[in-house]
């Protein structure tokens, strides 16, 4: 039987090619996302391990949490006396003071961007070995990492300005590496003497942390230090630091992971339709042959094993190729993700054995699962079938399948709708999943009337179109699998398009409603906490054309175990630039030290009102109970980005971060927005990463992430759609082989070649059009449920981007037409005679 299986594989290799491609794509997605994740993880791990490798223990001020939403929290500096205290402890071999923080680099007033400033620590404790020049030990000297020096075009001897708390003129005296590498995987490293770093960062005599080396065992010294220093300070091992740092950095990749996993699942699901279809067709074409094998004594079980054996070989080969493609594709995926604004370190790819194992298993299992239906049908072929003529698929679809499908669809739809009425969010995903399973089951039944409905107006165009419609209706299971593969891809795209458009529109509307500022100064980058240096605000105030300006800051806090964000505003100035709609209380009450204004949604959800207290945990200051001084409308809260507002004074008490997210500016009387913007641009010319934006640009900036995500999803899905369109070509080609006799008959009866071609083309258009309708409806229904569910968090009107959907549909229909080109030519070229004598 093995020989039979192999002979079959070779005989049908062309037909199986598409199956192979479909599996390759799905497996490549899985592999690519695993490789990308492992690589990023490894690089982050290495980065943080290298950074802390030299020290046995590190002392820092304690915080309630290490990082929020991918950003490490800023810690209070260690007072100078702690340094002396630690150095005096028995067992401490060396206690090396470290000053570090972020600075901006300027070269003759030109901003070169952000850099991480670290004080010079000689080897082996320091992570930055000197590669060239001398160590920066004197005041006014710095070293730069080799990689960044290359990128920025800087050399030893060049002068720079460090901009942080102070502006300090420095000279590059050396170049450093990072561990064995030329520089850290992300960002620029600047090394200065401890004194210079302290001055630049405004630390005075304080330091950021202490790196400790010891001859004792680490776990012996750690508790001793902890006891001496008390709870205000944290004593961490190098290992702990590396883990915490890497975790924070990697959490930036979570969104990307979710997208990639979703894409993998979609690609594999679409692939499985095509795999199942190919096997079903190959089996049906071989009915006679299989019956003959049965007649000569093969058991049904042997046939089953033979077909599954084929699937196994196809699955393994395709998974193998897919794994390799995925590893190669990870590089492309990384570039794509970076284009979508995700911070991913560069470096050699990491391929874990687990990745290969998972990818191959997934590929093989999906292929086997998709082939099991056709294999069972093959096993059920009776030996008598060898003597029969027709091998056409039954037109009927079992009633049980339809009933189960309808039930699943109903249950799924109800579950998916529930979050719109207050149920938990995950219910949406569960509901959509169940509904999708239902749709797949009932699709064959639905597709016939749909093809008929689409075909009805067209079938007047001639008998060729009518026959094409018949052909699409004839094998409902096959047609529905082809349609569903395409429809699924399209559904995901229209889902993303509708949800994206709705969120974008809502964001824009809320913003326009609330923010009255003429222009806004924001960072061009996508820094989590905003990247506008505090000095910018002062420069803005100095511009003559400016009437009023106020700043907005973001901070992270922990809300009963969950990371959350808050916005800090100046309660006296905010109403000059924004319409603050209060439900209760006054925004000015924020000036009352320590108060918080909450969004209406939060107030209702937690039954909080003015006079109540909200418990917030800050990294630096720990758990605090803040009085609720007001309740603000949800739209206002969304426009200011978070559901919690505090005053800038309150912010300063709990956060050391001093970056502005936005500076809102209104012009002085009689100054147009354009003139204001031009004046600000002139003033801020030495801050190239800071942008002066009008309302449209701010909205575009805020919705940029949605566009980028949509772009990423579209590019990834485009591959899957391509395969689905090829699926049409495959199904058509196979059905033409099946219908050779019938096409020959039509030719004998006087159908011209052009007619035959048109017939095949029409069938492709029917399939594509049906897929467009089903896909768009499914996508829209899912988007409707999702928008409804999201609407319970923040007001979200449903926006259907009809033009985008129309383009998508037209593109798919056109692709279907193109896909049919080759099969149509092949069908048209069938000579009438051979077709009738075919046996």
């Amino acid at each position: 039987m093995i020989r039979f299986t192999l002979a079959q594989l070779i005989a049908h290799r062309v037909r199986l090619a598409l199956t192979v491609i479909a599996v390759i794509l799905g497996v490549a997605f899985v592999t690519g996302s695993l490789v990308l994740n492992d690589t990023a993880q490894r690089l982050f791990d290495e980065q943080f391990r290298t950074a802390s490798a030299g020290a046995d223990l590190t002392v820092r001020t304690a915080t309630a949490f290490d990082s929020g939403m991918g950003v490490e929290v800023e810690r209070d500096p260690l007072p100078a006396h702690v340094v002396e205290q630690v150095a005096a402890i028995d067992g401490v071999d060396a206690a090396i003071a470290v000053a570090k923080g972020s600075v901006r680099l300027e070269d003759r007033e030109v901003d070169l961007g952000a850099a991480q400033l670290t004080s010079w620590i000689p080897q082996p404790v320091g992570a930055f070995p000197l590669r060239d020049g001398t160590a920066p030990v004197e005041a006014g000297e710095v070293a730069l990492d080799v990689a960044s020096a290359g990128t920025l075009g800087l050399r030893i001897g060049d002068r720079l300005t460090l901009v942080a708390d102070q502006r300090i003129e420095v000279r590059i005296v050396g170049l450093v590496g990072f561990g064995d590498a030329e520089g850290p995987p992300v960002g620029t490293a600047v090394i200065a003497s401890l004194g210079t770093a302290q001055e630049a960062l405004g630390l005075g005599a304080a330091v950021s942390e202490l790196m400790i080396t010891t001859d004792l065992a680490v776990n012996e010294l750690q508790p001793v230090l902890g006891e001496v220093l008390g709870a205000s300070y944290q004593v961490a091992t190098a290992q702990d630091l590396a883990t915490a740092g890497a975790e924070a950095a990697a959490s930036n990749l979570e969104m990307l992971q979710i997208v990639l996993v979703a894409m993998s699942v979609a690609a594999l699901l679409m692939g499985s339709f095509l795999i199942g279809n190919t096997f079903a067709i190959v089996v049906s074409q071989r009915t006679r042959e299989l019956a003959m094998v049965r007649a000569t004594g093969a058991t049904g079980a042997q046939i089953l094993r033979s077909v599954l054996g084929e699937a196994l070989v196809v699955g393994m080969a395709a998974s193998g190729i897919g794994t390799m493609v995925g590893i190669g594709g990870a590089i492309g995926l990384r570039a794509l993700a970076r284009g979508a604004g995700v911070t991913i370190p560069d470096g050699d790819l990491v391929v874990e054995p687990r990745t290969v194992l998972v990818a191959v298993c997934v590929g093989v299992i999906v292929t086997l699962a998709a082939a099991i239906g056709p294999a069972r049908r093959a096993a059920a072929i009776s030996p008598v079938a060898a003597m029969r003529q027709s091998a056409a698929e039954a037109r009927l679809v079992s009633r049980a399948r339809t009933t189960v499908g309808a039930a699943l669809l109903t249950v799924g739809a109800v579950l998916a709708a529930m979050p719109s009425f207050g149920a938990d969010m995950p219910m949406l995903a569960v509901g959509l999943g169940i509904a999708l399973a239902g749709v797949i089951l009932i699709a064959p039944v639905v597709i016939r009337p749909m093809v008929r409905a689409i075909g009805a107006p067209l079938s007047r165009m001639g008998v060729a179109v009518r026959l094409a419609q018949e052909s699409a209706e004839r094998a409902p299971r096959r047609t529905s699998a082809t349609v569903m593969a395409l429809a699924l891809g399209l559904a995901l795209m229209s889902f993303a398009a509708i949800v994206g458009a709705s969120v974008k529109t809502a964001t824009g509307e809320q913003y326009r409603e609330v923010i009255q500022a003429d222009v806004v100064v924001e960072s061009a980058g996508q820094e989590m906490l905003g990247g506008v240096h505090a000095a910018v605000f002062d420069e803005v105030l100095g511009v003559d054309e400016v009437g009023a300006a106020t700043r907005l800051k973001y901070g992270h806090w922990r809300d009963a175990g969950m990371m959350s964000a808050l916005s800090a505003v100046d309660p006296d100035a905010i109403e000059e630039v924004a319409v603050i709609r209060m439900i209760d209380g006054e925004i000015a009450d924020l000036a009352t030290p320590g108060g918080v204004v909450i969004a209406q949604r939060v107030a209702e959800e937690r039954d909080l009102g003015v006079g109540d207290e909200l418990t917030m945990t800050f990294a630096r200051t720990g758990e605090k109970a803040l009085p609720v001084v007001g309740v603000v409308a949800d739209t206002t809260a969304r426009a200011l980005q978070t559901d919690f507002l505090v005053s800038l004074d309150t912010y300063a008490q709990h956060f050391t971060e001093d970056m502005d997210a936005s500076v809102f500016v209104v012009g002085a009387a009689g100054v147009s927005a354009d003139r204001l913007a031009a004046a600000l641009e002139r003033e801020l010319v030495d801050h190239p990463t800071v942008q002066v934006r009008d309302q449209a640009a701010v909205i575009a900036g805020r919705t940029q992430i949605i566009d980028q995500l949509f772009g990423l999803v579209t590019v990834l899905l485009a591959f899957a759609l391509l395969i689905a369109v090829l699926g049409i070509a495959n199904t058509l080609a196979l059905s033409i082989v099946e219908r050779t006799r019938e096409i020959g008959l039509l030719r004998a009866l006087g159908m011209s070649r052009a007619h035959v071609g048109a017939m095949v083309q029409s069938e492709a258009v029917f399939v594509a059009a049906t897929a467009v309708v089903i896909g768009t409806v499914l996508g829209a229904a899912a988007a409707f449920a999702a928008v409804g569910a999201l609407g319970t968090i923040a007001p979200l009107p449903l926006v259907v981007p009809l033009d985008q959907l129309a383009w998508l549909g037209a593109a798919v229909a056109f692709a279907g037409l193109l896909a049919a080109f080759a099969p149509a030519r092949r069908a048209a070229a069938l000579p009438a005679l051979e077709a009738i004598s075919h046996d």
Partner: protein, 257 residues
């Protein structure tokens, strides 16, 4: 209506002269037609007989415009087929020719009625409903018109195929072993109908068969052997055909011996 059983042979509708058709080259060459000459009288029911490999199917395909020849000429209703392009032959098939195949060859997705109208619709013409009604009534399939081929018996399917061939009133109907897949009773009924179509409606019918009983229903029988028309006579009976075939076999054995 021209009952053409009279002694005077009517004008031929198909004249095929010195047809040559060779498959393959060199030693492997098979001469399917080797200077075959044949004319088919209009309005009559002609059976073309011959053993397997005698070239009778190729002869029919060429006369019907389904296949081309290496040399020779075929005129169908005054049109020289060998000079037509593939496209022109397609149009000619649509207008002038009807087919009945051994294995019915109905389009499985179309109902009986749709199958019958198919050639007319391919030609973009309306069916003559009185004529189609008469056909389906005569053939006894009026009750089965809304059924699909797989819901019909073999005999019913072949009667649908006959109705389809006749619906457009073609100049010639070609039938390729029309009874080959039928039991003897259904086969006889079908042959009787073909005979009737020829006699009552003046339909020209060319039937390829190797069954002497089937040939017995025809007005004339032509014999092919080794790619040539070797004999032919009017008013065949099954017995006469059998006798003639026996003589061929004897000759063939003599040649072989």
């Amino acid at each position: 209506m021209n009952p053409s059983t009279g002694p005077a042979a009517p004008a031929p509708i198909i004249v095929a002269e010195r047809l040559v058709k060779t498959y393959g080259t060199g030693a492997a060459a098979v001469h399917a037609l080797d200077h075959a000459t044949l004319s088919i009288a209009a309005g009559r029911f002609t059976a073309v007989m011959g053993p397997s490999g005698s070239g009778k199917s190729t002869m029919m395909h060429v006369m019907a415009g389904l296949d081309s020849v290496d040399s020779g000429t075929v005129r169908l209703g005054g049109v020289e087929l060998t000079e037509l392009s593939e496209r022109e032959r397609t149009v000619l098939r649509r207008r002038k020719v009807g087919f009945v195949f051994q294995s019915f060859n109905l389009v499985p997705s179309l109902t009986a009625a749709e199958n019958i109208e198919l050639p007319l619709r391919l030609a973009g013409k309306r069916a003559d409903s009185a004529w189609v009604d008469e056909l389906v009534t005569t053939l006894g399939i009026q009750e089965r018109l809304s059924h699909r081929p797989n819901e019909l018996s073999g005999g019913q399917q072949q009667r649908v195929a006959v109705a389809r061939a006749l619906a457009s009133r073609p100049e010639v109907v070609f039938a390729d072993e029309p009874t080959g897949a039928l039991d003897s009773r259904a086969g006889r009924a079908l042959l009787a109908f073909l005979q009737r179509a020829s006699r009552e409606f003046g339909q020209t019918i060319v039937m390829v068969t190797h069954d002497p009983v089937a040939a017995g229903f025809a007005d004339r029988v032509e014999f092919l052997a080794d790619g040539q028309v070797v004999d032919g006579f009017d008013h065949p009976t099954a017995q006469a055909v059998l006798d003639r075939m026996a003589r061929f076999d004897a000759v063939a054995e003599e040649v072989a011996a």
